[in-house]
């Protein structure tokens, strides 16, 4: 099986390049992550990439695979056209080989305050939700912050420092939609302005690539609707 893998080692490379690799005896059902681990172990131990759980839960191994963002650990090699081109997630600075600096991505995540904010005093017991209120969080809480969506978004490429990006906005809506949260006005005020939310042009690359099948575009639409409702 043939691979073309993006290599960039800042201490020796002036520019990134694509390095060919070949892997034999690939067992059926092998995922890309396992192939990268084998390439590193058997052929080039300097090959650098992030990975952890190996089952699409931790979100560490977001990669650009044959031009499409996805998780290496749940991408079967059998579904990929050869040579399999593996690049780092686009739009973020490359630290080394397939490892990108996720600092900007997590800065946006932090700014949307991804936690419940209560203004009333903490109750003695937990804050209860009805089953319907809990259902509103389905399709939102499952995000694993792999970054596949934001780094597939042209609006994020164009304004990575200002546009919050689909991942952070999905989380913004996750807490706006939560019946237990009491900071709706502050959250909406934070997102006002031409850049943070309204750079989304519903291109929907985020929906296309999300490995968890989530829909950040719908979440962004819901935030806009809520803003509108609150402003009239």
């Amino acid at each position: 099986m043939r691979f073309l893998i993006y290599r960039y080692r800042p201490e020796q490379d002036s520019e990134p390049h694509m390095q060919p690799f070949e892997l034999n005896d690939v067992a059926p059902g092998t995922m890309l992550r396992e192939a990268l681990i084998r390439l590193k172990a058997e052929q080039d131990e300097s090959l650098t990439f992030r990975h952890s759980c190996g089952e699409g839960v931790c979100g560490s191994d977001g990669l650009n695979i044959n031009g499409r963002n996805g998780l290496g650990c749940i991408t079967p090699l059998a579904e990929l056209k050869e040579p399999i081109e593996v690049r780092p997630l686009p739009g973020l600075p490359v630290v080394r080989d397939l490892v990108v600096d996720m600092g900007e991505f997590f800065r946006h995540y932090k700014v949307v305050k991804p936690y419940l904010i209560r203004k009333e005093p903490e109750p003695e017991v937990e804050v209860l939700q009805s089953p319907e209120e809990r259902d509103r969080l389905d399709g939102l809480y499952e995000c694993i912050l792999c970054g596949c969506c934001s780094t597939a978004c042209p609006s994020f490429w164009w304004n990575p420092d200002k546009f919050r990006g689909p991942a952070a906005l999905l989380q913004a809506w996750r807490f706006l939609a939560d019946s237990r949260d009491q900071a709706t006005d502050e959250r909406l005020a934070e997102l006002e302005g031409p850049f943070k939310l309204f750079r989304c042009h519903t291109i929907m690359n985020c929906v296309e690539v999300c490995p968890k099948g989530l829909n950040p575009t719908r979440a962004i639409g819901e935030i806009r609707k809520l803003m509108l409702k609150r402003s009239v």
């Binding site: 609006s155 164009w158 304004n159 997102l191 006002e192 302005g193 031409p194 850049f195 943070k196 939310l197 309204f198 750079r199 042009h201 806009r224 803003m227 509108l228 402003s231």
Partner: protein, 112 residues
Amino acid sequence: MSETLSGLRAWLLQRLSAVYMALYLVFLPLMVAIVGPQGYSGWHDLFARPVVSVTSAIFAIALLLHIWVGVRDVCLDYLHHPWVRLGVLSLLGTWLLAMGFWVARILINVSV
């Protein structure tokens, strides 16, 4: 950049102007089909009708605002240098204002 047109308001304005323009683009051909203007004076009389001149004036305003928001969006996406962006937006604003005055002049001349 105008604060009053920054986020939600600009987004809403673009959608409302689009809806109005879509309705106008149905209304105007209907009026033309009903009235059937012949020659210059026929068209002049058509646009002298208040219902046509007023809806056309609103159409022109909707179109100019729609262009402003749309092109401003493109500038915000692609032009990152503040002075370049300011320069392009100033040129655009001037051009749109000139177009607005031109349309206003035509509609006023037709109506009086």
